[in-house]
Symmetry: C2
Subunit: 423 residues, 2 copies
């Protein structure tokens, strides 16, 4: 049951953050505020947890000058979370609590900005409120640097990581090319993408000629063969003096074992925390007698707002804006996605997709995007990737410090009206 245009707005961020998730927030906030001052807009502190704990950040209390910087600020300005709602038929308490909080603050519109796991949460909330006949427009907004979210041609957050990786690979390749005569011959860059090789694939955008770096891409979708890998590194070094490798954190052996796991206990969703593939590979290459440097980009890549893709920022912002337009029509149970209309020139539009068709699905790099030998991308993949890194969207810089102006929000909570709740 929809709330049509009625009610206040609650926005929340979920899962791993990105360089542009705040641009989606900014798009939504700007659109809601443009509608007039009667309607309140809140952001839940730390995602769905803040909604449960009635920790609602009052956007009206923010300094407008800082709020204006939100679109160019990386990370999750209101706090994110990794928290899985139980199924309502197992435990209905959190859903009832959400209803209390939403009632107490007149929330008629709920926006959840996250990836696969988070859209499962959005879907569960929508279904429960619908079953209860409680009016709520419950809308998912996509976000994941991994680009593995179903229901959208590409996902905000990815384009900026892709641009960071492409630019960094091009830069590091120039470095190792100049050192290789007497020193480092191999450079290995470890990138994110636990199960999906989209970020690894973006390394291929670094090339401006076919012989350029990167020379080997190691995808999580392709079983890793140590002997074949070393042979290819060696042959590339013989061919041009150096070799640049982009490796996914999630590469696995033929037996399906992760090549490197950080040894953590995993997150709330049971995912292993990965990391350490690059030093592992570097050790193998060093053993083969080739001097190697390696880097692990980790948060550097997904927080790098300073080198964000203009296309990515524009789409992230448009999704937030469109979210509000859609909610006002009374839509619910949908996520907004990007539909590609053409590759070159790149044309796209925002379209709603059913949450049920999105939640918990993972979109891997398709087989026709990977070369036959498994170490490169295909022209089809490049055609897909190219538009996503187009355009620059540099943040403004403070001339007194030389650093980007990133928003410092107060995140002042609205007065609580309910007893405490422990999720």
């Amino acid at each position: 049951m929809s709330a049509q245009g009625d009610g206040n707005v609650l926005y929340a961020q979920s899962g791993g953050v990105s360089a542009v998730i705040n641009a989606t927030a900014a798009g939504l906030i700007d659109a809601v505020l443009a509608d007039g001052p009667e309607r309140k807009i809140f952001a839940a502190r730390n995602g769905i947890l803040g909604a449960l704990q009635e920790e609602l950040i009052d956007i009206a209390a923010e300094d407008p000058a800082e709020l204006a910087l939100l679109h160019q600020t990386p990370g999750g300005a209101f706090g994110s979370c990794r928290f899985k709602l139980p199924d309502a038929d197992q435990d209905e308490r959190p859903y009832r609590r959400l209803r209390e909080v939403f009632r107490a603050h007149g929330i008629g519109h709920f926006f959840y900005n996250g990836g696969n796991d988070s859209q499962d949460t959005t879907n569960k909330i929508d279904a429960w409120f619908r079953a209860q006949g409680h009016p709520l427009n419950c809308i998912g907004l996509p976000k994941t640097v991994d680009n593995d979210l179903a229901g959208t041609d590409n996902c905000p957050g990815f384009g900026s990581v892709a641009k960071y990786i492409a630019v960094s690979v091009r830069e590091c390749a120039l470095d190792v090319a100049s050192m290789c005569a007497t020193s480092t011959k191999v450079f290995i860059l470890e990138v994110m993408g636990r199960h999906a090789g989209w970020i690894t694939a973006a390394g291929a955008l670094a090339r401006s000629a076919p012989e350029d770096a990167p020379h080997l891409l190691l995808f999580p979708e392709v079983a890793f063969d140590p002997g074949d890998f070393i042979a290819r590194v060696r042959s590339q070094v013989e061919r041009s003096g150096y070799c640049v490798v982009v490796a996914s954190e999630g590469i696995r052996t033929a037996e399906g074992e992760f090549l490197a796991a950080a040894g953590g206990a995993g997150d709330a969703f049971g995912h292993a925390q990965l990391g350490g593939v690059a030093p592992h590979l570097a050790h193998q290459v060093q053993e083969a007698g080739l001097k190697t440097h390696w880097a692990t980009a980790d948060y550097l890549q997904r927080a790098a707002r300073h080198i964000a893709s203009g296309c990515d920022v524009e789409q992230a912002c448009a999704l937030g804006r469109s979210g509000w337009q859609l909610a006002r029509t009374g839509a619910s149970g949908v996520m907004l996605g990007i539909r590609r209309l053409s590759d070159a020139p790149y044309r796209w539009e925002v379209e709603p997709v059913e949450l049920g068709s999105v939640a918990n699905l993972e979109k891997c790099l398709p087989e026709n995007f990977r070369s036959a030998d498994g170490y490169d991308v295909t022209p089809e993949c490049l055609a897909y990737l190219r538009p996503l890194v187009l355009g620059e969207a540099a943040p403004s810089y403070n001339p007194e410090t030389g650093l980007p102006n990133y928003a410092r929000l107060k995140c002042r909570l609205a007065e609580k009206k309910l007893p405490d709740y422990q999720p």
Copy 2:
């Protein structure tokens, strides 16, 4: 003995490259070319090795449009090397060979662009040619991302790494701050700086308020105490929910052992190849029960021309230009350095310093730049660092690809006139 204004010019790059070493090359090349077309300028391929092997890149053969991009291109466009010349009293052959090559190509001016070890090479060459009475203007141009070069207030290359690290720490801190409620609580960034903590110190520039990240800086000049480190991480997480650490690759135990060594055999100068401090520290923090992410920036930091410091690019270029002005006066046996005239407003000038006072020296982070507890910098240090990251110098981007336009030089060698030589 000086060559005054006579003769052709040979320029060479040495040691680890940087985001702006090519800006120094561009400054020199533009200045020499502006003097008229009679004089030839060559760049040795792979540093002093190219000079010995008569591999002289003919700058006149380059496409002017590509050459115009040199100032915004990272890495060493002509190739660098790690190669130590023997002392002339041990082995005079390489010096005699250099004299043959210089004679064959009419070289009257030799510029060596490098760090501590490289300026030792410049010094040896100057001394030998001087002793032989062979006219040569032999001039050192400074370069090192580590900022540990003596004889200059700061070293080109460092300002851009400092900016990259400061911006990245600010960005990654926003990321972990948004995740810490339910997930990652500690972020560790490993940075370069084998023996000198300048790059680590630059992390402190990320703060815009005293409580901001980074919370702990681990300098190579300060003995690492694992127990104290973990206690401080824990207390910081208790205080604000998360902790950001910037760690030098070169941190050592009280016994002087490197915390992590990559296991390589070391380079031509006998330096250990380091790397892997971040995963080492992350493991310790994870063991203490705090979920940790880590990144190792490695080449990402020193090749990051896309986020170069405007000040750094300007100084790098000015040093190349000034090198040519100085050589024309007949100066030799000097390196050009930066002299600081004031902190705020920042004023500086180029000054020549004796090579003998520079070669093989290492300038560590002074004690009054480190806080009493050893985990932070002092206000004096910040006053020193701040001007070095001022200004942006974004490269031009190709609107068709979304990537920076970096020079693609032909590096065509001038015709050889001498028999082969094996260094």
